[in-house]
């Protein structure tokens, strides 16, 4: 019985596997280029385990950013996890010993798999295997990238663009599938405005505050627009 749940979980995670091996590989190379070897890559992928934040962290590490900046940046980049958590509160009730790991390992991609599953007897087992397999892919990809960055005689200058490409692709995917484009426009417009006003070192916090305020103060109009 356990084997068949594992098999289902494995088959469902194949798209995540390709993505995580690829993005983890890019992360490992970029981290290696910044002067941090495989132990750093392993530690970050094991203990942080948040793809976009780990890419952002490379910049923080190599620029020697302060701990407060690191904490605030992490809060801003990963605040969306609050909302994943809110929507999984009911699902993960009664998960027992596995619950802490299920919560820890709730990445964007894992969320996309475990949040759409119908109720079933082996549901928790399934969620556990999906979470664990996804992290194995991510750690594996990071280590492979770290090794490649150190060993392969290739010029990886420009590999950091993989992060821009990742966010832009997710942004476009959301744009193409969303009915209401205002949140996306607010995000880009406010951040660009703050970048011009506050400069590249200080703009992230005011951006996030203004975006949240604008979106929180306009829920009624958006909901009405969706219904009309």
């Amino acid at each position: 019985m356990k084997q068949s749940v594992l098999k289902t979980a494995f088959l469902d995670t194949i798209p995540v596997m390709t993505g995580y091996l690829f993005l983890g590989f890019g992360f490992g190379i970029a981290l290696q280029q910044a002067g941090f070897g495989w132990l750093w890559a392993a530690a970050m992928s094991l203990f942080i385990y948040a793809g976009s934040m780990q890419y952002v962290a490379i910049g923080l590490l190599s620029s020697g950013a302060g701990l407060l900046t690191a904490a605030v940046t992490t809060f801003l980049v990963n605040a969306r996890h609050l909302f994943y958590g809110i929507s999984m509160v009911d699902t993960y009730k009664g998960a027992g010993k596995k619950k802490p790991y299920l919560i820890f390992a709730l990445t964007d991609e894992t969320y996309s798999l475990v949040s759409r599953l119908p109720q079933g007897t082996n549901r928790m087992q399934y969620c556990f295997w999906v979470s664990l397999l996804d992290q194995i892919y991510w750690v594996g990809g990071s280590l492979l990238g770290s090794w490649a960055g150190a060993v392969l005689p290739l010029n990886f200058t420009g590999i950091d663009f993989v992060l821009t490409a990742l966010f832009l692709t997710i942004f476009l995917e959301q744009w193409l599938s969303a009915a209401d484009h205002r949140p996306a426009i607010v995000g880009v417009a406010v951040t660009t405005g703050c970048l011009v006003l506050f400069g590249a070192d200080l703009f992230l916090i005011p951006s996030m505050a203004i975006i949240t305020a604008i979106l929180a103060l306009s829920p009624k109009t958006s909901k009405e627009a969706q219904h009309d």
Binding site: T18, F22, L23, G26, W40, F47, I48, Y49, A50, M53, A57, L60, L61, A65, A70, A71, T74, V77, R80, H81, L82, F83, G85, I86, S87, M88, V89, Y92, K99, F104, F156, T157, G158, I159, L163, T164, A165, L168, T169, F171, L172, E173, Q174, W175, A178, D180, P183, A184, V186, G187, V190, T191, T192, A200, F203, L204, I211, L215, A216, P219
Partner: protein, 107 residues
């Protein structure tokens, strides 16, 4: 090497805190406030836009190469994605294109 280790520890702790907080607050049968539920729907779209701008924050439009490699890279990502809607193809194609540009064209 202590500073990077501390930085990683801080990032890990904040991330873990964010992931656990909803389960601690809404652990029992408390209803999610409507504003929070609404932010949960729309914030991901705005944050992704913010992160795209964040990635391009160090581009200088007033000095060579005037952000041209980034502009071409982003255009390739966008065109590939609208054409095939294959996430890995868009990311891989755009990154490869950018790497070739900064290594061989805009050296």
């Amino acid at each position: 090497m202590i500073k990077p280790a501390l930085t990683i520890a801080v990032i890990a702790l904040v991330t873990i805190g964010l992931r656990f907080l909803p389960f601690l607050i809404f652990g029992e049968n408390r209803k999610t406030p409507p504003v929070i539920a609404y932010l949960g729907q729309v914030l991901p779209y705005a944050i992704m836009g913010m992160l795209v701008v964040y990635c391009l924050k160090d581009v200088r439009l007033t000095a060579a190469p005037f952000g041209i490699p980034q502009a071409i890279g982003c255009a390739v990502v966008a065109l590939l994605h609208i054409w095939k809607r294959n996430t890995l193809l868009s990311i891989g194609g755009g990154t490869l294109c950018y790497m070739l540009l900064v290594q061989f064209v805009f050296v």
